[in-house]
Symmetry: C2
Subunit: 200 residues, 2 copies
């Protein structure tokens, strides 16, 4: 946002924006810790220190709140990932692979996982989450191609990058119940080498 | 089981075994369709056409029933995977990679995923599921190494196979909300080629 925009915002708008952000962050940690069954608008409002009415003003339904929350944090993480490599395509592919895999461990992946699993059984949630997932997936793929300096016009390169992101998702899942860090680092080191050879 | 063992089994034992198996299969489909929150011993007993008392005789707790169910089906699938390649190590690595990835799509993976996610929030379930997961993971890794004819004494080979199984898990997750078959086949084809080059 540039300076002109900021001076045009009223204190009330700023407060509203801050409230929305607190709700979204509380929703993600709630989903990561308690799962879908334990995550209601009331629980999140209390956690965020916001009244139930104010929460419902921002997010009329539970589905609105949780899909917005996962999208918000996914965008924050994409921004953080790009900020790690401000020059874009880098020679250090191992560092890029490590940073990409890191997107899939920690609370955002955990929250997203709860949302996916809930959506697989809840008809109201499924279309929203499927659309969100497609959006986040495309964006992550675009960033990965860019940072790896991958040339998708070469046959097989697109699928190589997709497979890397599938592997990252699987590594995130492997980290759900136990701390899988040591094993994950060895797998990432090996596949970063293979990827480097393949992408040339 | 050999013929001698079979003749020593009484009809009562056979019935008990059949009841147990019906309960385990009903538990897996229940978990895949309704998730942990919708899966109780009563619901499974009804689905299997077994009285609640008989179900509780076999499985005193919900945790007993569902961890046994996921383990049972995982073993069935390992057996089926080995049966696909009765000669063991095969020249056709792409066929092996496809068969391995297939283990992670469909109702078993879906049921296991519900169990993992529930276990991440339920203290009673977590140690059982973590132990089960370690057991199934080791067994799958052993089968994969064997069928791929991979030599784990060569540096990097162990991590290459692990990464393949992580990718398979990620591909299973990508198939949860939408039918991802077409994309998955392209990724598997490409990664099977990479694997073939790496394993030599």
């Amino acid at each position: 946002m540039d300076r002109t925009e900021r001076t045009e915002r009223t204190p009330k708008q700023d407060r509203s924006r801050a409230t929305r952000q607190r709700l979204l962050e509380a929703a993600v940690s709630c989903l990561a810790e308690h799962g879908w069954a334990g995550s209601t608008v009331s629980v999140v409002a209390e956690r965020a220190g916001v009244s139930r009415g104010a929460a419902q003003h921002h997010f009329p339904t539970r589905e609105d709140l949780f899909t917005a929350a996962v999208e918000y944090v996914a965008e924050e993480r994409s921004t953080a990932l790009r900020a790690l490599f401000p020059q874009g395509a880098t020679g250090d592919r191992r560092a890029v692979v490590t940073a990409l895999v890191d997107l899939y461990t920690g609370p955002l992946f955990r929250a997203a996982l709860h949302l996916w699993v809930a959506a697989s059984n809840e008809d109201q949630l499924r279309p929203r989450v499927t659309e969100l997932e497609a959006h986040v997936g495309r964006e992550t793929h675009r960033i990965a191609v860019d940072l790896l300096g991958a040339d998708e016009s070469t046959p097989g390169v697109r699928e190589t990058v997709q497979g890397l992101l599938d592997m990252s998702r699987g590594l995130g899942l492997a980290n759900l119940l136990t701390n899988d860090t040591a094993r994950r680092e060895r797998v990432v080191a090996q596949w970063a080498t293979l990827l480097d050879q393949t992408l040339g």
